[in-house]
């Protein structure tokens, strides 16, 4: 019987469980209770063959501002195929991608954990544009950070930091001093506070900033209130007057493969006119340092946000957070450094 791709419904739940069990060793499963686990507006599709689930993916259509014009763009999440464990289904992966493209030609994928993983290889083979979104970090508590990062199994961070420490010529003292010196640049009396929710002030920020980005997902008050609900106390909204904002997280890690047991501050999301990015980053960093985090991290694609992070004493580190654009989306010709993409995009900060 032919494989058909259909929106998920409860009748496939048992088959989906069996599918996830077969693919358990390969990574992230498809959500068995999609409504509870997906971003608002998402739909999960499953590839079904004679009652058995053989693959699936999630699509979330969003409104993007592309060179100031609003366009429908969809996030393509979690394509998973039986082909990962059974080559007889090698056709399913390409079938999922082409099916999603047929429904949503302007498509992007985010995250994907490195260029050598199957999905970015598959998308690259289909002519998608695949690039990494730079990661920036700032060590807030060097002694704790060094102890914590030694405990982590993953050596990439440590290697990266050792390289940087060596580069400063004076090790950790030099690193701390360099961060401090970089962040001494005048900030012109930045006033900031934290907000309980996104209100009309966020609409003002969006209205002023939107057209200054080559491409960015809509970040008006209504959208932001869905992504970062006021009732979820994990999300802290750092607001810089009416100039901009950042959503930050303060997470105590436990045995994380990258961060061990460190306390990690993340600048998850942000919006401001590019010229105000430095003020927002400075305020977010000050807030997180005041909370006592060990290290602060942020993925930011836009050149102005990268420059703001560097000016505030952040270093660039190794990034496996990838952005892939379908051929039609890439053909719109927005360079990566003019796109405003960060950890608030895609499926949001679910892994932070």
């Amino acid at each position: 019987m032919a494989i058909e791709i259909r929106p998920f419904s409860a009748e496939w739940r048992n088959s989906l469980r069996e599918f996830n069990a077969r693919l358990a060793a390969t990574g992230t499963p498809l959500p068995e209770d999609p409504d509870a686990e997906m971003q608002p507006g998402s739909t999960m599709y499953v590839a079904v063959e004679d009652g058995a689930v053989r693959g699936g993916y999630i699509l979330r259509p969003q409104t993007f501002s592309i060179r100031g014009a609003l366009r429908r763009v969809a996030h393509f999440r979690l394509p998973v195929s039986e082909g990962a464990v059974n080559r007889a289904y090698a056709r399913v992966g390409p079938l999922l991608v082409r099916s999603a493209l047929q429904a949503e030609p302007l498509l992007y994928a985010l995250g994907m954990r490195g260029f050598d993983r199957p999905l970015p290889r598959l998308l690259g083979a289909m002519g998608w544009s695949v690039s990494s979104i730079p990661l920036f970090f700032r060590v807030a508590r060097p002694a704790r950070f060094l102890r914590g990062i030694r405990a982590a199994r993953e050596a990439r961070w440590r290697a990266s930091l050792m390289d940087l420490a060596a580069w400063t010529g004076t090790g950790w003292i030099g690193l701390r001093g360099w961060q401090w010196a970089r962040s001494l640049q005048p900030r012109g009396g930045i006033e900031w506070d934290t907000a309980d929710d996104f209100g009309s002030w966020a609409d003002e920020v969006w209205g002023a900033a939107q057209a200054e980005y080559g491409m960015t997902a809509m970040r008006d008050a209504r959208t932001l209130s869905e992504l970062y609900p006021a009732g979820n106390k994990r999300f802290v909204r750092v607001r810089v007057n009416s100039r901009g904002w950042a959503v930050v997280l303060d997470t105590a890690m436990e045995g994380d493969r990258y961060f061990g047991d460190l306390r990690v501050g993340t600048i998850v999301d942000s919006m401001a006119r590019p010229r105000d990015a430095a003020a927002v980053i400075h305020a977010a960093r000050r807030y997180l340092e005041g909370r006592g985090v060990d290290v602060i991290v942020s993925n930011q694609s836009h050149a102005a946000w990268g420059a703001a992070l560097r000016a505030d004493g952040f270093f660039a580190g190794p990034s496996n957070f990838l952005f892939a654009a379908s051929k039609e989306l890439a053909a719109l010709g927005v360079p990566a450094t003019e796109m405003h993409m960060n950890r608030g995009d895609g499926d949001g900060p679910v892994h932070l």
Binding site: R87, A88, R91, P94, R98, P118, R121
Partner: protein, 79 residues
Amino acid sequence: MSSETLDEVRRIAADVFGRDENLLGADSSPEQVETWDSVQHLTLVLALEARYGVEFSPEEMERMKTLGDIAGLVGSKIR
């Protein structure tokens, strides 16, 4: 499907999979060809689309279980 089309599909598949063309036939499938994974399957499809100037729909891609199936689909589109 003409034997000419099958031969051409076999030749392109051999190139994509890094296998001897003489070891590939109409019955060859991913289970038998070790290097025939999702990425190589897609590479084969794209190579055929470029060679013949056609595009396969998701429904057609679903039917591509063997080289014979693929050659049959190519034949039906260029006829």
